[in-house]
Symmetry: C2
Subunit: 194 residues, 2 copies
Amino acid sequence: MPSSTHFRPVRLEHASRLLNHGPTVLVTSAHGGRRNVMAAAWSMPVEFTPPRIAVVIDKRTYTRELVVGSGRFGLCVPGAMLVDLTYAVGQTSGRTEDKFARHGIAAKPGPVLGVPVIEDGCAAWLECRLIREPHTEEAYDTCFGEVVAAAADERIFAGGRWSFRDDNAALQTIHHLGGGHFVQGGRTVVARPL
Amino acid sequence: MPSSTHFRPVRLEHASRLLNHGPTVLVTSAHGGRRNVMAAAWSMPVEFTPPRIAVVIDKRTYTRELVVGSGRFGLCVPGAMLVDLTYAVGQTSGRTEDKFARHGIAAKPGPVLGVPVIEDGCAAWLECRLIREPHTEEAYDTCFGEVVAAAADERIFAGGRWSFRDDNAALQTIHHLGGGHFVQGGRTVVARPL
């Protein structure tokens, strides 16, 4: 059964939770009839309400051109089953070929901005409007965005919370250590009051 | 044996690796005879060379006052053995009491800036010089910093690479899911070429 059957909207006040633990994401974009997807290990929430995030998108990438041109982007959170794909789309440029087509990635338009979002094999996605900050984009390749829609696979994120279990290992988030090595999942521990 | 025995300098070109996979960090600061430590789930590298990072430090926090006042801060990467402490120092303010003293946290001055850094129970630390960006600090609570020194416990990070194994579980990084729930460690997976 495709993941999309299990995707449910995430309330915007819970959107930061999707990135809170530092997963590697896929940045999706589309502009002028072209589209692209790249991997990014460097993203983080910056505000709960309004829900805002920051993501580093190198100025030399085709994604940066599409994001700035269109004023919007998607962040899709790949599950462990997409580890090879995540690494692959981080190694090549979409300037010369459509990586969706090359890798057979199914994408659909996000509900608010129409940004391509990926559900099959992903745990979640966020649709974001670029907040233009030319200085920060230029000096630090850091792009800020406001989350306008989000959704997650209910088998791993429901009621505003992640649930990492043995039965959803394939959807667990991946965290790039460098050089194609990722940590996946992990044991959930609960802090005790001191 | 205290962790400090096992700390070794990390080359600055490898500093981004310490945060690449999205661990929750402890932000340390000192100014005018006062010091503080708080937890932050929202940080990321933004540049390899020079090594630069971004971290969200709420403008209402005492840490923000000390960081802006002194122009420097530390990011310490707590191991799983510090999960309770990490959550605890994220729940109270250091404005009225010294959290190092309250929790018995041993800190030493970093080698370049003298920022307090924590080694016992931590996997790594980074000493950072604040790069003043008043607009970004005000609008997004996002503070940029340049890493001027870094070190890691060689039992879990050596030669520029993390190594998560059964025998170093207590030092494995923790990733805050929200509400005191963290994921710890995890299985290392290696991407295969597509």
